[in-house]
């Protein structure tokens, strides 16, 4: 029977079929739905970990104890988890260990376009690249087998278009694989220099063995077409190549590291010209060129941005001009939702003209006009530490105009170490923790501050303000960000305070609470002053009725959730609760 599964659902299904026992992840687009779907299989112990390093280490521990384990993250998550990732390459596995990295070409929801196929090579770990959901399911299972057969973690590398494309997928049954149990083996798992020197030799030997396996791996395969053109490709790029060059011979690689050299040479000999169709960096291209084979690749196909059938086609044809895009279409970047609890904080930041080191989450949208309340955004947790560094360079006076902003989930992910560092090193940090009780951007996953576990069961709640106090911060306040006066006065106190100050702005994400009755603007009282537009609520717009001299602000009642923030801005009391007055 076939089912419609997205790539992420298929990985979850594959893990279940493979007898996986433990799964961990930190949410991040485009990988989030992998763990969200694994949660549906009760046989698998699943957790949202606080960050990717922790997630990988937990999975590694499960593997040490002989259980099959999977860890999922977005591409930049592997940067966080790189430390254990590299060393796990040395120590190898007991239960199969699969690391899923979901890259984001085109940066639909990411801060960079890194190509994690480099990571597999760098850490000397084999890489599998599925080209659709069915392969995602099969390759997840094969990844566990390869992991155990060769005693190595395996990198399952996905991209946005694999994760979030849905297609018909076969379903298999679950293999019941026993947990092997723990046997002490310090030469393998206690990676200190003496042991690691020996292990490095093992790693290099292992790579040769996997390279030999790559030659016979049944998903590395050639489909002969016309011999005038040979395509070498992998991942979703394979689908685009089939679409654009339907008659060409195609060598589709699936176990893409180590590459099957002999197979590639055999293919190269029989076709007149070779084109490497890969998304992102010239990874296969560089290796194939190093084999002395002449190929076309990134000299034609763009390295930056997402590869699409259109991009591929236009790389090889001067004639096909893309249909004209419509000019003058106003852009529609994402915005904070109506009623978003972050809005009040950013309004005050903007009003006080502060410098803001920012972070990663919905609240990064506070950088856009009209709030325009963010100066930097580097990586998870960097708001805290960037602020400390700016203070070091510019002095204490500057830190009185400087705040660091991050969300609750990001604080747990990697804000805490920065906070400890600031307290310890006598910084003058002003830290704003926007606590909306969830990991909102990725679709509302729980975290330690919610006191809920992955399957919704009750866990222990850890409050950010308790952590701050535990770290020795004396100036800690919890504030309702929808109360603009209270927010502004908390800011003033924190900025004046000598030493580290932590403000926790607590109010649930607007998507988690029932909307309240919408507000309305009285056209008699509104003089079109635009004050209420400064908070950038998508429910409020300015119209220019013909019969009026001045413009008029209006609330879209279908969008307004009745948060009442705009009411606090109007100097003429023009904004009122519609339902109450309607009776």
């Amino acid at each position: 029977m076939k089912s419609l599964l997205s790539g992420n659902e298929a990985v979850a299904r594959g893990a279940w079929e493979a007898g996986c026992r433990v799964a961990t992840a930190y949410p991040g687009t485009p990988s989030t739905e992998i763990l969200e779907n694994i949660i549906k299989y009760p046989e698998i112990d699943a957790e949202w970990s606080v960050n990717e390093k922790v997630a990988l280490e937990v999975a590694a521990g499960a593997s040490f104890a002989g259980a099959r384990a999977l860890v999922a993250m977005k591409h930049v998550g592997l940067n966080v988890a790189a430390d254990p990732f590299f060393t796990m390459g040395y120590s190898g596995v007991t239960g199969g260990l699969v690391i899923v990295s979901a890259d984001d070409p085109g940066m639909w929801s990411s801060q960079n376009e890194q190509d994690n196929r480099h990571y597999g090579r760098h850490a000397k770990v084999p890489i599998l690249e599925p080209s659709d959901s069915n392969e995602a399911r099969i390759f997840t299972k094969l990844a566990f087998d390869i992991s155990e057969k060769f005693d190595t973690p395996v990198l399952l590398r996905l991209t946005t278009r694999i994760c979030h494309s849905t297609c018909l997928t076969e379903l298999g049954e679950r293999k019941d694989i026993e947990v092997k149990g723990y046997v002490k083996d310090i030469k393998k798992r206690l990676v200190l220099p003496a042991h690691a020197r020996a292990l490095h030799l093992v790693v290099e030997e292992r790579l040769k063995k996997i390279a030999a396996h790559s030659e016979v791996f049944r998903y590395n395969r050639i489909a002969w077409g016309k011999k005038t053109l040979g395509i070498i490709t992998s991942g979703v790029a394979y689908q685009y190549a089939k679409e654009v060059f339907p008659d060409a011979s195609v060598l589709k690689l699936s176990l893409t590291h180590p590459i099957p050299e002999r197979m590639i040479r055999r293919f190269a000999k029989q076709v007149r010209k070779i084109v490497i169709v890969e998304e992102g960096d010239p990874v296969m291209e560089t290796e194939i060129k190093a084999m002395g084979i002449k190929v076309t690749g990134k000299d034609k196909i763009p390295l930056c941005g997402e590869l699409t059938p259109d991009v591929l086609k236009s790389s090889f044809s001067k004639k096909t001009k893309a249909p004209a895009k419509s000019s003058k279409v106003p852009p529609r970047p994402p915005v904070l939702c109506p009623g978003c609890p972050h809005r009040g904080v950013f309004y005050v930041v903007n009003k006080l003209k502060l410098v803001v080191t920012g972070d990663i989450g919905c609240y990064t949208l506070g950088a856009l006009p009209p709030l325009s309340a963010m100066d930097t955004c580097v990586c998870m947790g960097a708001s805290v530490t960037n602020a400390q560094g700016m203070e070091k360079a510019l002095g204490k006076e500057f830190s009185k105009r400087l705040v660091a902003v991050l969300g609750d989930s990001t604080f747990f992910h990697s804000g805490i170490t920065g906070l400890v560092n600031a307290v310890y090193n006598k910084g003058n940090l002003n830290l704003l923790i926007l606590d909306n009780f969830t990991t909102a951007m990725t679709g509302h996953q729980p975290h330690p501050g919610t006191g809920r576990l992955a399957r919704g069961e009750r866990g222990r709640r850890i409050a950010p303000e308790d952590i701050a106090r535990g770290c020795g911060v004396e100036m800690v306040k919890v504030v309702n960000p929808n109360d603009l006066a209270a927010t502004e006065s908390a800011f003033e106190q924190a900025l004046e305070y000598d030493g580290v100050a932590v403000l926790v702005f607590r109010r649930p994400c607007a998507l988690l609470v029932k909307p309240r009755p919408p507000y309305r603007i009285d056209p008699e009282s509104c003089n079109g002053c635009r004050l209420c537009l400064r908070i950038g609520c998508p429910a409020i717009s300015l119209v220019f009725p013909k019969e009026r001299e001045k413009p008029l602000a209006v609330v879209d009642e279908a969008l307004c959730v009745g948060c009442g923030l705009c009411v606090q801005l109007c100097q003429r009391n023009a904004i009122f609760l519609s339902r109450k007055s309607d009776g």
């Binding site: 687009t29 639909w108 659709d132 979030h164 059938p309 249909p323 915005v335």
Partner: protein
Amino acid sequence: MAKSAKKKANTNVIICGVGGQGIILASDVLCYGTSLAGFDVKKSEVHGMAQRGGSVITHVRFGDKVYSPLIAQGTADYILAFEKVEAMRYAHYLEKNGEMIVDNREIPPMSVLVGEAEYPADIDRRLTRMGKTYFIDATSVAADLGNIRVVNIVLLGVLSRFLRLKEKYWRDAIRKNVKEQFVDLNIQAFGRGRELAG
């Protein structure tokens, strides 16, 4: 308005609108319905940041054998747009003889709200120039049904009159993809959409 059979194998449908309008659900229903009819089908969508009120596009392709989950520009048979500016943003995907079904709805983006850009005044005319366009009052029908959120299924009802797919598959697909307590409402919305198509 049924459309004559085409020679090419795959049917390409773009569904676009504003994040939060239920575009992904609409594409799920379409995708599931076509699979029930025995087609090979692929769907590609975008999650994450764009879903916070940004511009959203989903690609659905079905036929005998589908490779790319993405539709190439100039090859979409249908564009189902939940908002006019969004229809315009993706109109270059439309095939020469393709058709656009557009909800008669204007949602000004933030750039317009803060006065940095203008909502194109002549948008209806411009859309009509880009391809055969049907403007549908889907939002008001949904509001009429008491839940503006079912606008996505109203629009699917309209689309269903263009695609040659048995009504039964559509209904099954709706049942499969919406929460149980909303099934009746959505089936009703679908029916109203079919009526709207005339």
